[in-house]
Structure formats: structure tokens, C-alpha cells
Amino acid sequence: MELNRRVFLKCIGAAGAGVAGAATDSTAVHAWESRAPADPLGCLVDLNRCIGCRKCEQACQTVNKLPQPEQPFDDLTVLDKKRRPDERAYTVVNRYYPGRRDERDQLVPTFVKVQCMHCQDPACASACIVGALTKKENGAVYYDISKCIGCRYCMVACPFEIPAYEYHNPVTPRVMKCTFCYERVENEGKLPGCVGICPVEAMTFGRRSNLLKIAKKRIESDPGSYVNHVYGEHEAGGTSWLYISGVPFDRVGFIQVPHRPLTELAETIQSSLFSYLWSPIVLFGMLGGIMRAFGSRSDRDINDKGEES
């Protein structure tokens, strides 16, 4: 009994010391900091150039050894459906008629390639319970299947609704999304499959800072043909994939996304509450104190009863 009391007091004392230590630490909690790579690789898509040939879809399927699509890649009728990347295709091209007309009064289509945007501060990577998703130095948001447990929190977190899931695999399903051809770019020094094959150079691959310069130069030199907005420069805190367009982005399927990284609020709250585990330690110390003051009778009660029986 006495031992019990002594151990109890000692532990409460230790908790109290922890509280004091944590209090000083908690003042040192830093403001949220981006963990984005300084100058990653990226890709600039010029919607004014894309002709909707679907060669990029085909190259993606070949390079990433994805299953054959139900309709062949030269079947352009699929362009009329608003498709999304899914567990069988990392990238898709959709056709929009935003209202522009040519000299013969025909509607001019705009083609939009959709894939993972490879955010600078990816919400999916911040959310991932095991850190299976990581932002690599070269810009790719990389998925490590060996860590994944399939909680699909990345899919909840992604503001662009990109990661897909192999829902019909009962035991070893994977999260499926564009890899930015990470291994191909990093180890073989090649271009991503889609970029390399594009016949009209609708995609430009390079350092993100350079791509932003190129994008702004194109807009400046031909302001009549472009809207003054580089989608991805600020969206979600910046993305490795960037788009310029001749028509307003909201008319060709692009959604409004906050310009601050989506990770900021959740990570700030989480780290200010739990850095160095200060709050649980403080709470433990407080509850210990209350238990000592009010609950001590219960120790005696329980022990008395125990000794009686």
C-alpha cells in the first residue's frame, strides 16, 4: 500500500517536471513551414497547343504497364465524355467547347489533360498515416506501396480528387495515380512518358521556376490568346504541373482551389497541440493531481476491500 502511494507520487512528480519542460518547449513551437523542394522539376501544359490525339494517354499506359483501355487509344469518341483518371489510367484528355468560335463560326474545342498535379506541399503526403506518399526532390509525389495500408485518407485529402483505388482487388489493392514517371526521370534521365510522345509540344518539361518564366513570357507575348493566369502557380500552394489556357480555367473543368497549402491548418493545429507531446503530459499531470486530491479515498476503498476478501 505504502509502496503504491510512493510510486504514484513519484510518477506525478515526473509528470510535473515534464509539464515544466514542455511549457518552455511549447513556446518554441515554430510557425508552419513548407517542406516543398526548392526548385523541383515540373511540366507546363499549354491548352492552346493540345490537339486531343490521346498519344499521351497511350504512352502513359505503355510506360507504366497499365491495363489496356476498353476502347482503343485512336478512338476519339471517348473525348466527349468527361472522364477522370482512375485505377486503370493515370491520365486522361477531355474535350470542352467553352464557346470560342473560328472564322467559319465553328465551335473550337479545348483539350485538357488531367493527371496528378504533384503539389509542392501535397495534402495526400501530409495525410498519409504511414508516409507512403512523399514529395521527392525532383518534384514527384511518390507512392511507396510497401508501406500503404489502404486507409484512403490520401483520397480524402487530395483537393484535385486524383488518387484512385483498386476497389476490386480484395487483398492487395493499390492507390493509383500519376507517378510523374519518377524512376524513369530520376534513374534513366528520360522524359515522362506523356511529355516525350506529345507531337505538338503541348507539354514542356523542366525546372518549375523556368516553366513559370516560359508560361508568363507566352502570356505576355500573346495576351490576346491567353488568359492571364498560370494554373498551378499558387493553387494549393503551388503544383509541379502548370497550365496556361486561352479560355478561363473554370470553363474547361478546372476547379477553384485555395492558394495556401491545404496542409497548413491541419499541421499547425496538430503541431501546436501535440509537439513534444506537451498537452498529454500536462493533462496527465493535472489529472494525477486531481486524483491525488479527490480520488485518494478510492485507492483506500479498493485496497481495503481487496484486503478483506
Binding site: E87, S126, I129, I149, Q270, L283, M291, G295
Partner: protein
């Protein structure tokens, strides 16, 4: 007043138990189908809607409604209010079973159930879900440890296992004796840890959706979501105890324990009022009341949650007559329980709007069968355990302590 918990030893296979067994069997078959055909075979989950009722009900609501465990432990063990001891064990049992089924629900929902141990090895300290998972893992074990004394009490000195297991009788007896000597000395640590771990993950469950500002409807998306989750979990703790104690005592024809349940809900008036003030204040400050009359499913779900789940039961509980009446107290507490249940469903399912796809989600029959199967399993085990272990207070027998 001392508690006198005893095994009920009532007839087990009542018609109600048979109904539960039926739903359990249906759920079990569906779980089997999920592990043969995949999540997509049994559910309506999609790229746009990665989380459905398995997360909204089985996991998030399961955790919230198991809050009776840590709130009563705080009351009786930390504040030393032994008057409430008779409801401690049933609340602990509900929490233990609740969390066990949260883990089982997760096993069905995550794609790679066999990899559920991986967060212990691969840490992502930035992930809210990682913190929730760690807390739930530790807390489940804390609950099992808190439950051990009940096993010790029942079996110490009378371990008689049948057949070949009889050889182990001595070993088990020694283990129980050891537990009986050690547990009372270290239990304070687990009781405090249980409260701390609960506060951590109850709030962090709310933080989960903070990373999706464009998806969660503004009526629920607020930076104080973790605070709202914590306050609502603490609030629902005692009403949940009233709810399940009333159900259990009515079903097993025991003393309704109104002497304990009535005063237990006095604090609920204050807690629920706080929760109401926080939610209303948050709505006013962020100006989200502009959505209140737009007639969408989200808005209606929010109104039901606020009016039926918070305002009506709060007004009811203000009246001492309601708190003294078994029936009206039960109704008020059931409303609070349903309100918190609806809140969790709203945050994880109803309020979740995919930004690109117009993909409306409604749970499939199989998804519902699995959820109903788990709830039936929980109730089945509750009844089984109170029948054979000393959990519920014995009717009419005041102990002469």
C-alpha cells in the same frame, strides 16, 4: 452507496438475441464477400467518395459513443465520486466492446487489412490519422487492462477448464493471482492514461477533416472542429451510459438505477449547453447561417442535428422532472446520442462533397449489412458478458458494506 456487480445468469437465447445472431450471420457473410471480391464488390465507395458509412458510423461514431468509458472513469476514479460506481462497469464494457468493433470495422474498411500493423513501424508525425491510430491502439489495450479485474473477480480461485485444458488450471490460477496483486497498484496509471488518450484522439478525429476545406460543407468545416469533437464526445458520455443502462436494465428486468442516472445527467445540461453555444457561435462568427435555408441535404441534416440532437434534449434536461422520469430521461439521452451519431455521419459522409465529380454516395445494402452486423455483434457480446461476468448491478440487493 457501493456497487454490487454480479453475473446476471438470465436465459441467454431470447428472441432478441436470436435476431442479433441473424444480423451477425448476415454481416459475416458480407464480410466474407468483401474479402473475396474486394471493397468495390460490396460497397458504393469510389474515387470521389473514398470514405462511407464504415468510417462515418463504425469508426467515428463508434469512438464517440464509447466516450462513456473515459467520462465515467474520470468521475468515479479521478474525482472519487464512488456513488456512481454501479454504472462504471457497464460503461467500461460498452467502451471496450465499442473500440474492439472500431478496430474490426477498420479491418474491413482499409484495403490491406493484413497491413494494419504498419503504422507502428512507419511513422508520419504530420498525419492526424497516425496520431488517432496510435491513440486508439493504446487505448484499446488500456480498456482491456481496465476490464481485467472483472475477469479476476469472476474466476480467481475457481478456474476449472474442461478436458485437456485442465492441465493449465494451475498456471491460469497463478496468473490471476498475480494480476490480483499487481493490478490495484498500477491501475491509477491506466485510468489516467485512458482519459488522456481519449481526449487526444476524440479531438483529433475532428482534425481529420481539416485537410479537406474544399470538400467538407462549410456548416461543419471549422478550425474548431477538433474542439467540437472533444466537447461532443465528453457531452455524449453520460447520456450514452443512461441510454445503454436503461436498455440493458429494461431488457434484463433489473433495477433501473434512476438514483444514479438522474444526477449523472445534471452535468449534461452544462456540457450540452456549452456544445450548443460553441456550435452556434461558430456558425455566427463564420457567417455560415446563410446556408441554413437553402434546402440542400446537407443543410437539412445540419438542422436535424442541431434541433433534434442538441436543442430539444437540452431544453428537456433543464427540467428536473424529465431527469427524474425514466422514460423521459431515456428519450432525452437517446436524442443526444443520435445527435452525436448524426454529427459524425454528417462530417464524414453527408457533408462531404467531392469538388469535381457529381458522384452522390448512398451506402449499398452490403455496406449497411456489415455495419448492422457489427452493431449486433457488439450488443450480442454485451449481453453474453453481462450474463456470465459481474458487470451489472444485482437487482434489489444492497450490499452491507
Amino acid at each position: 452507496m457501493s456497487a454490487n456487480p454480479q453475473a446476471i445468469r438470465a436465459k441467454f437465447w431470447t428472441p432478441g438475441v436470436l435476431v442479433m445472431a441473424f444480423f451477425m450471420a448476415a454481416g459475416a457473410v458480407t464480410v466474407l464477400a468483401r474479402f473475396i471480391g474486394g471493397i468495390g464488390y460490396v460497397s458504393n465507395l469510389s474515387t470521389a467518395r473514398p470514405w462511407g458509412i464504415w468510417i462515418g458510423i463504425d469508426v467515428a461514431s463508434g469512438v464517440a459513443l464509447a466516450a462513456g468509458g473515459f467520462t465515467t472513469a474520470f468521475l468515479a476514479h479521478i474525482l472519487g465520486r464512488h456513488y456512481y460506481e454501479p454504472v462504471i462497469r457497464p460503461a467500461l464494457l460498452t467502451a471496450m466492446l465499442g473500440y474492439t468493433f472500431v478496430v474490426l470495422g477498420l479491418m474491413v474498411d482499409i484495403g490491406r487489412s493484413w497491413a494494419i500493423w504498419k503504422p507502428m513501424v512507419y511513422w508520419n508525425p504530420h498525419s492526424v490519422l497516425f496520431e488517432v491510430a496510435m491513440c486508439v491502439m493504446f487505448y484499446v489495450n488500456v480498456l482491456y487492462i481496465e476490464f481485467l479485474p472483472i475477469l479476476v473477480e469472476q474466476f480467481k480461485g475457481r478456474v476449472k477448464m474442461p478436458g485437456p485444458l485442465a492441465a493449465l488450471n494451475g498456471v491460469v490460477e497463478n496468473l490471476l493471482g498475480l494480476a490480483d496483486r499487481i493490478l490495484p497498484r498500477i491501475m491509477w496509471f491506466f485510468i489516467i492514461s485512458g482519459v488522456v488518450l481519449s481526449c487526444m484522439h476524440q479531438s483529433s478525429l475532428g482534425s481529420l477533416m481539416l485537410i479537406a476545406p474544399t470538400k467538407l460543407h462549410p456548416l461543419w468545416y471549422t478550425p474548431i472542429l477538433p474542439l467540437l469533437f472533444l466537447v461532443s464526445a465528453v457531452t455524449v458520455g453520460y447520456p450514452m451510459v443512461v441510454f445503454e443502462t436503461t436498455l440493458a436494465t429494461a431488457s434484463l428486468k433489473l433495477d433501473p438505477e434512476m438514483k444514479i442516472l438522474s444526477p449523472l445527467t445534471r452535468i449534461t445540461v452544462f456540457l450540452l449547453g456549452t456544445y450548443l453555444a460553441l456550435k452556434t457561435g461558430d456558425m455566427v462568427i463564420r457567417g455560415t447561417y446563410v446556408y441554413l435555408l437553402d434546402g440542400t441535404a446537407q443543410t437539412n441534416a445540419f438542422l436535424v442535428e442541431m434541433i433534434c440532437g442538441i436543442i430539444i434534449p437540452w431544453i428537456m434536461l433543464l427540467s428536473p422532472a424529465v431527469r427524474r422520469s425514466r422514460r423521459w430521461l431515456f428519450i432525452a439521452c437517446a436524442l443526444i446520442v443520435c445527435g452525436v451519431l448524426l454529427n459524425r455521419i454528417n462530417v464524414f459522409v453527408v457533408g462531404y462533397r467531392p469538388p469535381v465529380s457529381e458522384n452522390y454516395y448512398f451506402p449499398s445494402i452490403s455496406e449497411m449489412l456489415i455495419t448492422v452486423g457489427f452493431i449486433s455483434g457488439l450488443m450480442f457480446l454485451y449481453r453474453f458478458i453481462v450474463t456470465y461476468l459481474p458487470v451489472l448491478n444485482r437487482p434489489g440487493q444492497e450490499v452491507s458494506a
